[in-house]
Amino acid sequence: MDSRDKVLDQYSSKLYKNRKEHVIQIEDGESNVIAADTRAIPGIMTNRGCCYAGCKGVVIGPLKDVVQIVHGPIGCSYYAWGTRRNKAKGDENTKNFLEYCFSTDMQETDIVFGGEKKLKKAIKEAVEIFDPACIMIASTCPVGLIGDDIHAVAAEAEEMYNIKVVAFSCEGYKGVSQSGGHHIANNGLMKNVIGTGDAKPVKYSINLLGEYNIGGDGWEICRVLKRIGYNIVSVMTGDGSYAEMKNAHTADLNLVQCHRSINYIAEMLKTKYGTEWLKVNFIGIEGIKQSLRDVAAFFNDPALTAKTEAVIADEEEEIAIGMVYYKSMLKDKTAAIYVGGSRTHHYINLLKSLGVEVILAGYEFAHRDDYEGRQVLPLKMDADSKNIESITVVKDPAKYRTFHTEERIKELKEAGLPIESYDGLWADIADKAMITDDYNQFETEAFLKLLKPDIFFSGIKDKYIVQRSGVPSRQLHSYDYSGPYAGFKGALNFARDVTLAVNTPAFSLVQAPWKSEPTLIGNLGGME
């Protein structure tokens, strides 16, 4: 019996039926099909979060100049306060609200009599204290149920205070995971923010999409891009701002790092403003190099291309000795990796380049295209996905502009440039790897025992479970408060951290000596 069967066979028939579609072992050359983006099973300890977590927690959360009022009881706002490492830096022109947590702290009376009045009052107080350029409202479970019309409140406030006020109905119960929240956030930003600015386009300008500046990743990526000569219009949304995002429509090109959370905006920007998008991966040396070369190929300016190669050579040189050392420390190790909806894929090649093979992988909330590539699109809708609004945008004649002609785009695509293209996890995962969609505590434990990876990458809820079973465990959501891991320097940081993790001396001290052989006592100088 193979490992997959050994695990799935422990399920009751009903669970087995569900989970067998989500757990597959990669077969070389075959078509590997996986079920994804379906409901988590009640009682099964999924690692998933909710719609609110995807919308407020992930996508809009990093917008630093926005007062983000969570409309609901206190918990949801509290848990999203300072817990995701989307770093941001204010300056004289940018108020930084990310160190703050705003909530309407709904009480029983608000639930009974409705919370709109309190929300209005909260907005008023926020305006009076902080005078922000933009307020966003995120609703939590009870708000939708009691029927508070947060969009009407937002519209009224926008008029009353002459600032931007955007509401997101991201109640936790919507959809099947964070993923619904990403979509809702994408829609809201597209409808209310992007394109509302009046900046003029600048040359070689780029939006970086789906980069949340965890541990400063975005800063490191932007450093390299700027070094080559690109102008960053906006980053969505790491260290991002309402002020910049308004003008995102003016960029020449969109780079998509996290496909799952932001592909909606990428697509809509293409439709509405004509901006092409490229899937990039700034994690791992090969990915970075390929991505930078793709971007250069898109712009096709010899100076940019030359600078790209020069920067690559220089940055690579700087970390070369370190990477060789860490590779020597990590060679032939195996890893398990379970992250949200894109990151698992991003790290596979970085690990491979360090000699670490991923033998167990999966996503928390990915869709089938994140595994199998965008070629499987469009996906069949189910009852749950239908509940998440899908908006349609049309060309904005005033602001629509294209960098290349349609023909040129076609040529570039034919030349292999990943314009509007993403091949998913399958593109890089090794043969025989075990894949678990919406992985849960039970499977984690079971596969750990069977496959015995040398290191485990996931989140805080697993971290100590895994560590307690003797396997070094690193958080790949928060980088265990290290980072950046993106870019050349980030790869070195990652390699260092992984090396430290697998060489933590205390692992060799887990076994008490009285549990094994009796050991000798010290120097028996006087004991004849």
Binding site: M45, C50, C101, T104, I111, E128, L145, K461, I465
Partner: protein, 454 residues
Amino acid sequence: MLDVTPKEISERSALRINPLKTCQPVGAMYAALGVHNCMPHSHGSQGCCSYHRMFLTRHFKDPAIAASSSFTEGASVFGGGSNLKTAIKNIFDLYEPDIIAVHTTCLSETIGDDLVTYITDAKIPEGKIVVHANTPSYVGSHITGFSSMITGLIHYLSVNTGEKNGKLALFPGFVNPGDMREMKKLMTLMGVKYTMLPDTSGVMDSPMTGEYTMYPKGGTTIDDIKDLGNCELSLALGEITSTPPAESLKTKCKVPFATLPLPIGIELTDQYIMALNRFSKNEVPYIIEEERGQLVDILLDSHKYSQNKTVAIYGDPDTVLALAQFTLEMGMIPKYLVTGTPGKTFEAKANELFEKFGVEGCTAKGNADLFELHQWIKNDSVDLMIGGTHGKYVAKAEDIPLVRAGFPIVDRYVHSYLPLVGYKGAMRLAEMILNALMDRQDRDCADEDMEMIM
């Protein structure tokens, strides 16, 4: 740091900024983790469960297990009964706990899910137990939720069989496993037979063994919870947190109760010891007397470094009140005491304390937040802050030393293993407070004022 916080304080009645509380369910989850072989269960959207597990895991650096009913939009409209039923089956099948402790969420409460009926109707395997507590997130705080789950456990399980068991029922309050260990140590030294509920020691501070076990050795056993109904007396530590369960045990099983503040510092630990002494009629052993005397000695030796120093203490109500009393015993002035948990008792108790020690210019506020505390500090600063991690931004912004104590501490290690309660805990606390103040003196002094001897 916190650059947009204005010094000028404005009245707020709707906008909560930088809260000092979170919602009931996470407190209920923590309480349930203090029951042996128990799976906490969150009846609501899976996001709640995920957030709560993260919160607890980050504080304890140990796995916090819990399952969720994983509501979808459908369940939210039509009720979560079916989800709970499925969850109960799956949990018992897969994770094999002896008991599932369900708590509700704002979602299931808003739609009015009837947990009693759901649980009655559920298929529960022979010998297994499901209990629940109503913990709507829009009422009270995590402290309330902690209380509610203990009450729920008592409600479902405790029975007065008519035969007294000679034990003390101890409700430890919302404290760390290290505190619970110290409370138990003192009961043992005083010869008190007891049941403590909950008891997260051995669960949330369990040792590394090389093997993961979902249910570690610790936690109050189901039999002991049942037997609570036969206790002679219950002692509720932390009046705001622990009175409700003590009352419910009295109501259900006629067990009389006494309430005391959390035993932090000298006098409050004295009260705890005296209560144990009354209960067991055993003399206080020398080891306790010695620890007490050592603590007094330390406070006398070091008084110059603490006396008249002002401190802001924030966090959970019983913790803040007990910490405040200890700082007063150290001669400090607890200038600002704030908690996010609503309720009038906190301010009343704090004001009693100010009066008792004759300190002036001190303010206590319940249902308050860190933003307001920060504004107070901007207007009139303090020498020290004591509280959880969330105060670190204020501490950095205003360059005030911070002693981490209470919940949550998500940016440091070891805290959950070692006590703040009891004389030993107070020694540790005194060391932390003194080091913070003295390190600051060393940092800030001119070279010529650096003292070798202090």
